[in-house]
Each structure stands twice: as C-alpha cells, then as structure tokens.
C-alpha cells in the first residue's frame, strides 16, 4: 500500500526511456515471444533485468525451462540504466556484514562478491556477449583522511586474500586518471566496465538460445495458487509452474505480492554523458581506462567511454518522478577534478530507480512454499 502523507514514488509508472547512449553501442534486443493461451513451465520468472535473466540462463544451463515475463522492454528497469561498473564490493564492509549476518554467512557473501566480476566477465566470454567490456580495474580516490583509512583497510583485507588490489600514490593516481585531486587511491584490478544495456540483452539472447522463453512487453498482473503450483496471469494468457521467481526490484508493483514493494525504497539516480572530448583532453583524462569513484558518502563515478565522452553519476532529487540532475554541481566537481577541462556539454541524460533496502543489503525472500 502506498503511504499517503509522504508518498514514495512508484517507478513502474515512470515512462523515462532506456538510455539512448547505450542503445547506440548495443546489439538489438533479441526477438522475444508473445505469451498466448495457458502454458506450463518449470519456472516462471517475473522481471527481465540481470536477476531474472541470469536466473533463466543458469536454469537453462541445468536443463530447467523457464518463462521470463518482462513488463516493458528487456532491461527496462535498473539493468539498462546503470553506470556500468562491475564491482567486487557490497555497500557494507566485511566487518559490518559479519556483525550483521554472523561470520559464516558474511564470509560466504564477501567471498562470492569478490568473485562477482569473474562471474560476470566469465558469462560474457562464455556466451560471446558483445557489451564493450574493459577490464582494466577500478580506481577509488581517497577524498578525506577517513576515506584514506577506509581504502587502506580495504586494500589490506583483499591483499591478504590474494586479490589484485593496490594502493596508488598521488603521482600514480594522476598518471592514470589525470587528476591531482587525490593524495592516494586504490586500484582494484578485478573490476571493469561494460555497456549495461548490451549486457542485459546478451543475457536474454543467451537464455533464449539455451531454451528459455522470454516474453517482453508482458506485465504479469496476477499470481495465484493453482493445481500444479502457481498461475501467473499476463495479457489474458497464463503460465502455470511449481516455482515463481519475482525479480522486479525497485519496479515492483505493490499489488502483485503484498508487502514485497514495501521492503524497498525507490531512489532516483541520474547519469550524464558529455560530447566527445577533444584529443588533448582524451590523452590526459582517465587515460588508464578505469572508472574513477571516491570515498564520498554519495556515489560519484566518472568514466570515459571509447568514443571520448565523459560519463558521470550525478546527484539530484531522490524522490521526484520527473526531476533534473544537479548539473551545476557535476560541473563544479569536474572542475575540481580536472581544472582546465572547461564546462562540458551534456548530450545524453537519463535516470533510473535504485531499489534501496532499509539495511542497504540485497535480500532474497522465500515468499511461500507449495
């Protein structure tokens, strides 16, 4: 139910399109099926983003047939709108997670997250997904003494596990990024960047090629118990299956499964992409090819694409359905990082809804059993 006094936004109603910039470099979406009649499947998956499609692909690898229902186009939710960093970290530090979840569970989660980029880049390689992969690592600048302490601790933690993570001094940081702003930074070679839209389409294509059924523009409307498991209704048709996966994230429609949407806080995130930089600026800025983020509290990424455009994660109103990014702030921040760059012209802008949870952890719920 949506609260009245301070209503939270309802992302399924947001018409803002899939990023046109990513579209220019992404292969077209695979041809999907129309859901007709009453079908049966081993598994029904609601939501055609990374979670739903990766589930379908991993199920297909095990010979399990799934039907994926996506309300809009493939990757319509967060998955096509991301900044494109493939990161081996979670929001919370390993120590924090151990306190929250217990040592054993936290250890499993941290270990798997550290290997997360291997999983993503492995799928990309295995299925030949064309998504502008660059695996040069990720740079994190220390923006404050506290940030520097965090980076040192994180670097020591991962180095002790044999991960390719190093601290960079100011001159090495400048050599790779072109900014003198940071006294130090860390370079984590496990991570990299992708075109998020191309990746999610590649997951869909690979799942379909392995036997999954994917139905785009098919909003699941109702879920009810039925003989043989559950019946999911969409567009006058239905699928019956013993297992249903709801992978709808911030775009969850509250009425589909009562209470599920209320576990999430939909928060708006903004992205801007500039016109291509001129050659001298390209030779100077982010020349190592790594995206640059720092230890600030609010996420602030900058990356440079192969066509010489600067791409930033921008700040802005977090709950408004149609609001603009704080462009002046972005320009000021870039001027701090790269004095002499001059004001950039922002050619592409888009937004997406991040499904934040109350404890900032990703959650897996078992909603019901047969």
């Amino acid at each position: 139910m949506r609260t009245r006094l301070f209503p939270l936004p309802f992302p399924p109603e947001d018409p803002s399109p899939i990023p046109a910039y990513f579209e220019t470099f992404a292969p077209p979406a695979p041809v999907t099926e129309k859901l007709e009649g009453d079908r049966h499947a081993d598994v029904v998956i609601v939501g055609g983003g990374y979670t739903g499609l990766s589930t379908a692909l991993h199920l297909a690898e095990r010979g399990i047939h799934s039907v994926v229902l996506e309300a809009r186009d493939i990757g319509w939710g967060e998955s096509s709108r991301a900044f494109g960093q493939v990161v081996p970290y979670l929001k919370h530090s390993p120590e924090h997670l151990a306190r929250q979840l217990g040592h054993e569970v936290a250890e499993r989660l941290v270990d798997a997250t550290g290997r997360g980029p291997d999983l993503v880049f492995g799928l990309i390689e295995k299925y030949g997904i064309e998504c502008s992969v660059v695996r040069n690592g990720l740079i994190f600048g220390a923006h404050s003494p506290a940030g520097l302490k965090t980076l040192h601790a994180r670097t020591r933690f991962w180095q002790a596990r044999g991960a390719p993570v190093d601290m960079l001094d100011a001159s090495r940081t400048e050599a790779l990024t072109g900014t003198r702003y940071y006294h130090a930074a860390s370079l984590d070679r496990r991570g990299g960047t992708i075109n998020p839209l191309a990746y999610v389409r590649g997951l869909a294509r690979s799942a379909i090629e392995r036997g999954a059924t994917v139905c785009a523009r098919t909003p699941a409307m109702r879920l009810m118990r039925a003989a043989g498991g559950w019946r999911v209704e969409a567009l006058g048709a239905s699928v019956v299956s013993p297992v249903v996966v709801l992978a709808t994230n911030a775009y969850t429609n509250g009425e589909f499964w009562p209470g599920l949407g209320e576990t999430l806080i939909p928060m708006r995130a903004y992205q801007l992409v500039s016109r291509p930089l001129d050659e001298p600026a390209r030779a100077r800025i982010l020349r190592g090819g790594q995206p640059l983020t720092d230890t600030r509290r609010l996420f602030s990424g900058v990356r440079r694409h192969a066509d010489g455009r600067i791409h930033v994660s921008a700040d802005g109103p977090v709950f408004d359905m149609s609001a603009e990014a704080h462009v002046n702030k972005v320009n000021r921040r870039l001027a701090m990082l790269f004095p002499g760059l001059g004001p950039l012209e922002w050619e592409y802008r888009w937004t997406g809804w991040v499904g934040m949870t109350y404890d900032l952890n990703a959650h897996l719920h078992e909603l019901a059993r047969q």
Binding site: Y50, L53, I64, H143, S144, T263, L298, F319, H363, L364
Partner: protein, 62 residues
C-alpha cells in the same frame, strides 16, 4: 550472483549454499516516514561531502 544462487536453489540446492541468506519479508516500522527521513539523510551526506571537499581543498592549498 543472485541469478546463479536462485537457479541453484531451484534445482534443489540447500539454503546453506546461498551467498545471499534467505530473510523474512518484513515491512519497516518507519515506512510511513521513509521519505522525509531519507531526504534528511541524503542532505546530511551531501553537506558532509561538500565539507570534506572544502577541507580537502584547504589542505591542498596550504
């Protein structure tokens, strides 16, 4: 990770093998005031970040 985990569990894997632990569905007691609370928190983080920038520039200048 979530997709791989889900597929393994559906295929009969044990809960103990999940990277993401199964948690109960719980709505937050602060749901009704989430919006103003988060807005305050984000503004607080913005100002802390801006203050850090200011101090950082001062340190660099000296």
């Amino acid at each position: 990770m979530m997709g791989r985990d889900l597929a393994a569990r559906i295929a009969g894997g044990s809960d103990a093998a999940l990277c993401f632990p199964l948690t109960p569905l719980q709505s937050s007691r602060i749901r009704s005031i989430t919006r103003p609370l988060v807005e305050c928190l984000v503004n607080y983080y913005r100002s802390r970040d801006a203050f850090d920038d200011f101090r950082h520039r001062r340190r660099r200048a000296s």
